[in-house]
């Protein structure tokens, strides 16, 4: 069976049981964020993952557009039956987002990868 593979793979995606782990270790310019969204959705479709974990530990700037796209991706993933968990937001990034008033309310947020895996595997919870 042929799978539709995204032409532009911008991030590595690690399959971990029912979950997809996406460590984001590149600078997120607008185009890259768009490609990231597309890639994540395609990976969800092809792997039928139950949850996707976006690890943003290495991302040092998250602005309003990146936040918007992450929330939008989570909403799209939810429509495909997949939960999204964001983890590893750096303290200065959290400070900046909170001060700007970005709450990322529609997405589950975890303290670290271990916590993210716990949330991803739980039955209840938002995201």
């Amino acid at each position: 069976m042929k799978k539709l593979i995204s032409k532009a793979r911008v991030v590595p995606v690690i399959c971990l049981g029912d979950f997809l782990l996406v460590p984001i270790q590149i600078d997120l310019d607008d185009r890259t964020v768009g490609l990231l969204q597309q890639q994540v959705l395609e990976e969800i479709e092809s792997t039928r993952a139950r949850a996707v974990i976006l690890d943003v530990r290495m991302v040092d700037v998250i602005d309003s557009y990146i936040s918007y796209t992450i929330s939008e991706t989570a909403a799209m993933a939810r429509l495909m039956g997949c939960r999204t968990v964001l983890c590893g937001i750096q303290p200065p990034v959290a400070l900046t987002l909170a001060q700007m008033g970005v709450m990322l309310q529609d997405i589950a947020v975890a303290r670290d990868l271990e916590h993210a895996l716990l949330i991803a595997g739980s039955q209840s919870g938002v995201g």
Partner: protein
């Protein structure tokens, strides 16, 4: 906090034509990639000026929002950043975002949190910049362009 529509003392065209050598960072915004470049350069300058990591992140985020506004609404413009030294109060980073785009008819509206004319947006760009920075002023004239001048002082820590 300054929040004016048109200021007699500020000539939008003259700000736009400021010579590059007056600034520590001067970036033309014309392509989407330029947003990330502006963000990185602002971050580097703030780091070199000794700002805390929290403030470096805020400055880089503010520049990212301003550069994106230029790219989205005016197609092109420039981001100019200058380090001002003040012996008493420590260094101050001034950021000027300038374009010759369509201008903003209702500034109060665009400064409102959640207001946006762009479909894929949270509508918190400009109000977010104002919250992240210490000073903020916006000047705009329909048909002539927009200038945002914003700054942040280095905190003693």
């Amino acid at each position: 906090m300054l929040h004016k529509k048109v200021d007699e003392n500020l000539d939008i065209d003259r700000v736009f034509d400021s010579p590059a050598e007056d600034f520590d960072v001067f970036i033309r915004i014309a392509r989407e990639e330029d947003i990330a470049v502006a963000r990185q350069m602002a971050k580097q300058l703030a780091q070199e000026a000794g700002f805390s990591l929290a403030d470096v992140t805020k400055i880089a985020t503010a520049v990212s929002e301003l550069a994106r506004n230029i790219y989205r609404y005016a197609k092109q413009g420039r981001i100019m950043i200058k380090k001002l030294l003040d012996d008493r109060e420590g260094p101050y980073l001034e950021i000027i975002a300038s374009d010759n785009g369509p201008g903003i008819a209702e500034i109060d509206l665009v400064m409102t949190r959640g207001y946006t004319t762009y479909e894929r947006s949270l509508g918190i760009g400009l109000s977010g910049v104002k919250r992240l920075m210490d000073t903020f002023a916006i000047y705009s004239e329909v048909g002539r362009g927009t200038v945002v001048i914003t700054g942040k002082r280095r905190r003693k820590f």
